[in-house]
Amino acid sequence: MHELPVTESILKVVLKHAAANNVSKVVSVKLEVGKLSDLADEWIQRYFDYLSKGTIAEGAKLKIERTPVIMKCGACSKSYEVNVGDMKEVVCPNCGESGGELLSGREYYIKDMEVQ
């Protein structure tokens, strides 16, 4: 729902790094977005295509990697992955304790970009 402001931030970061690295064209950008985020990949690309028109990032392909939701068990401290479609059963497979601390799944990160 809020893909537009997020995409504006992505473009800003991309152009900043492009300017600092003497880039003539941005080919692709690799993003890491946690699976807990409701961002729709398709809309980020569409907004990016629109916002980047006339910049050196025009036409760049966004490669979005979804990082898994990992919980650390509150009882035995083992970490385990949770299926986002099945949040009803957040149970440690090792000891059966319910819930714990969220280690990953909320990422909003630009990893690297391919440029010319």
């Binding site: 997020v6 991309v14 492009a18 993003l31 986002v84 009803k88 990160y109 690297d112 391919e114």
Partner: protein, 222 residues
């Protein structure tokens, strides 16, 4: 054709917002004002809860309210009618508040004369969870008619809040809402969250919420 090379970026997408949010927190740390971000779906009782909170706290803490509304000033007028400083931010279609919008609200209030500012975020369980507003505490409301399955649909929101207020408990006897199932689902996502059942209509549970708020504000100032 020019050769393609790789540049390491390693930067948070929302780094700018996070920086502005830290600025808000620092400013309010200096004026000893606690900022509380209140989130929920539309119609779950944010404005009613704020009005109840103002009544419960007005002899203890000096309050201000930042209201976010897509295109009206109804909520701010209700709060201002109670004699409380209220700022209305018109978000004009935005689905959430970000730290820059909150900065505008904070700058419009006389923070040196306030102990607590409550932000009434845009009614939405998705987007507000993703943007740091600069608040010191995040609080959400889930109302009984919305159902006990909401933590399964909006896990991020439940995972980032310090307090969950379950409002409209006066409807419990009429519904199949399962409070124990809700608590289990929420605690599985966030074991540190405080769950407080309330009714803004009857006033039930409001004392426990007001006590939590007073303790949190006292702990913040020291």
């Amino acid at each position: 054709m020019e050769e393609v090379r790789l540049i390491e970026v390693k930067e948070e997408i929302l780094a700018d917002n996070n920086k502005v949010a830290s600025g808000v927190r620092e400013k309010l740390r200096n004026s000893k004002t606690m900022l509380l971000n209140l989130m929920s779906s539309p119609g779950s009782g944010k404005t009613s809860l704020i009005l109840r909170t103002l009544e419960g706290l007005k002899n203890n803490l000096r309050l201000g309210v930042i209201e976010a509304d897509i295109d009206s000033t109804v909520d701010a007028e209700k709060v201002a009618a109670k004699g409380i400083s209220a700022i209305q931010l018109r978000t004009g279609g935005f689905c959430h508040l970000d730290a820059s919008m909150v900065t505008q609200g904070v700058n419009a209030l006389d923070v040196d004369k306030l102990d607590l500012i409550i932000i009434e975020n845009v009614g939405n369980l998705v987007c507000p969870a993703e943007f740091d507003t600069g608040a010191h505490k995040n609080v959400m409301i889930l109302s009984v008619p919305e159902g006990d399955d909401k933590p399964l649909k909006y896990p991020l929101m439940f995972s980032i809040c310090d307090v969950l207020l379950v409002n409209k408990i006066d409807y419990l006897s009429l519904s199949d809402f399962d409070m124990d199932a809700l608590k289990k689902r929420v605690l599985a996502l966030n074991k540190n969250i405080r769950i407080l059942p309330v009714s803004c209509k009857t006033g039930e549970g409001i004392d426990a919420w007001v006590s939590w708020l007073k303790e949190a504000a006292a702990a913040y100032i020291t």
